[in-house]
């Protein structure tokens, strides 16, 4: 591996940290949100939050797909699996997310046919192989994953696979960012923009953050140096009183995004007028719905959903943590009744969830 040296170069990392220290005005408290769960994970994994000046606070955003899914939707999906004819398929990180009656894994142990899949196309394959069964794919994820579901639906139509349907829970990152910017208890100075979502949507759609809300946003890679450089770029913009969309991850993210993927999304999905987000409440036009043309494969129509809304356990403060108002350890349940073995909220399940990331990389290390 002859290429990696530049990134591993500790001098470069130290230099970036020094430059951050020089740029950050010690009299100002900066609040920078990393939108993507992958960034949260990297930050805790490498202890980046401890390397930057303490007045530069990193706030964890809503970019973890399982974390933002409200409990009602999980129960709704699990209810579909009650039908003995149904095989419910889901990504691995869904399996331990607690619904009211238990996680998919627990219900699977109780005899429901729930299976992990790596790709939505694997679910379609499963439906082909089990013509007597009804295969339902529990679709979650942001713009990164939605094109895969869209293509799978197209294939289902093309091949006329009738015993397959999708329980669609795809959400969009931009309305969530807007909701956070509009939220009265949030004061943010800038954003570290999501890397892989942006390979699909590109950089253009973030313009409203810079233009309307006057906040810098830097699309960032996942290397420690990437994240540090993005923080540096945000601080530089703030110093120069600028607010622009910058692409730090240009080696992967194109300004235009992935046109093919975007066209697919448009072909198969339309916007829901409202969708509930855990912690953020109902956000207008923030999620995707399967278009009429493909409604035959829409599990919500095939099985009928009831629009269950469930409130999280009272003491759980997932909402505040998701919005960045509280740090994971400030939740009353953190490390006590809520831990990775017995998660109360989804943020403790996915390793991209802020609570799990904090638990594994900071809390556990200091406890021992």
């Amino acid at each position: 591996m002859q290429y990696v040296d530049e990134f591993r170069d500790s001098r470069l990392i130290k230099k970036t940290i020094e430059m951050i220290q020089q740029l950050a005005d010690p009299t100002v408290h900066y609040r920078i949100m990393e939108v993507c769960g992958g960034h949260t994970f990297s930050i805790y994994r490498f202890g980046l939050h401890d390397l930057i000046p303490s007045n530069v606070e990193l706030i964890h955003g809503p970019g973890c797909p399982v974390c933002v899914l409200p409990m009602g939707r999980i129960d709704e999906g699990l209810r579909i699996a009650e039908d003995p004819k149904v095989i419910l398929t889901a990504f691995g990180d869904m399996m331990r997310v607690p619904g009211q009656t238990g996680s998919p894994l627990v219900l699977k142990a109780k005899g429901r046919d729930i299976r992990m899949v790596y790709s939505p196309l694997d679910s379609l394959k499963l439906a082909k192989e089990h013509p007597k069964k009804e295969v339902v794919f529990f679709a979650i994820g942001f713009e990164t994953t939605a094109p895969a579901t869209a293509l799978t639906l197209l294939k289902a139509q093309e091949w006329g696979i009738k015993n397959f349907s999708v329980f669609c829970n795809h959400v969009l990152i931009l309305p969530a960012i807007r909701a956070i910017l509009d939220s009265p208890d949030m004061r943010l100075d800038g954003f570290i923009g999501p890397g892989h979502v942006s390979t699909v949507i590109g950089c253009r759609p973030y313009a409203f953050v810079a233009q309307n809300y006057k906040k810098p946003i830097v699309i960032s890679g996942f290397e420690p140096l990437d994240i540090l450089e993005s923080i540096l770029r945000i601080l530089r913009q703030l110093k120069e009183k600028k607010s622009e969309v910058e692409n730090q991850y240009g080696r992967v993210v194109l300004w235009e995004g992935n046109r093919t993927a975007l066209k697919l999304l448009e072909r198969v999905f339309e916007l829901r007028s409202y969708f509930e987000w855990r912690g953020l409440g109902f956000i207008a036009q923030s999620a995707l719905k399967i278009k009429k043309e493909f409604s035959y494969w829409d599990a919500e129509l095939r099985f009928g959903t009831q629009g269950i809304t469930l409130t999280d356990p009272k003491a759980a403060q997932c909402g505040e943590v998701l919005k960045g108002v509280l740090k994971p350890y400030q939740c009353k349940l953190f490390g006590r009744s809520c831990n990775p073995e017995h998660p109360v909220g989804a943020l403790m399940v996915s390793s991209e969830g802020a609570c799990a990331a904090y638990f594994h990389h900071v809390y556990q290390k200091t406890e021992v």
Partner: protein
């Protein structure tokens, strides 16, 4: 005081994070190298390529980047069985390295191979046991 993870990295010490085997992430994309285009593809309308990630091979869908002229030897970023973007070899190496630093590489492999049912069964048993206690 214990050294911070990144400082450990700067000092050249490898990080070996413990990871719950049940945790799977879907957000991090995995880089893979194309070995063969459309190998014995019998299904019409599906464009696939055989990719290799550290000697593990899997067929992935390449329709999302069909505008790129892909050929064996090219690197792509894979997410839930789909190639999401064509990337340079350099970027691929960087990504692979960060996956291994994050302790995600083994898991990425596992995902690429598909989940092993045996392990899943064991995990379920463990979960039931834990819930009983």
């Amino acid at each position: 005081m214990k050294p911070l993870p990144l400082l450990k990295l700067l000092l050249g010490i490898d990080i070996n994070g413990k990871k719950n085997s049940l945790q799977k992430d879907m957000c991090l994309a995995i880089p893979g190298k194309i070995v063969e285009m459309d190998p014995n593809d019998q299904t019409p309308f599906v464009q696939t390529a055989l990719v290799e990630v550290s000697s593990v091979r899997r067929r992935i869908n390449i329709e999302l980047i069909k505008d790129e002229e892909l050929k064996p030897g090219d690197w792509v970023l894979i997410h839930v069985g789909f190639a999401l973007a064509k990337i340079s070899e350099r970027e691929a190496q960087d990504q692979l390295r960060i996956l291994s630093m994050l302790g995600e590489d083994k898991q990425a492999m596992e995902e690429l191979q598909g989940y092993s049912m045996e392990e899943e069964k064991k995990n379920i048993k463990d979960t039931i046991l834990k819930n009983l206690i």
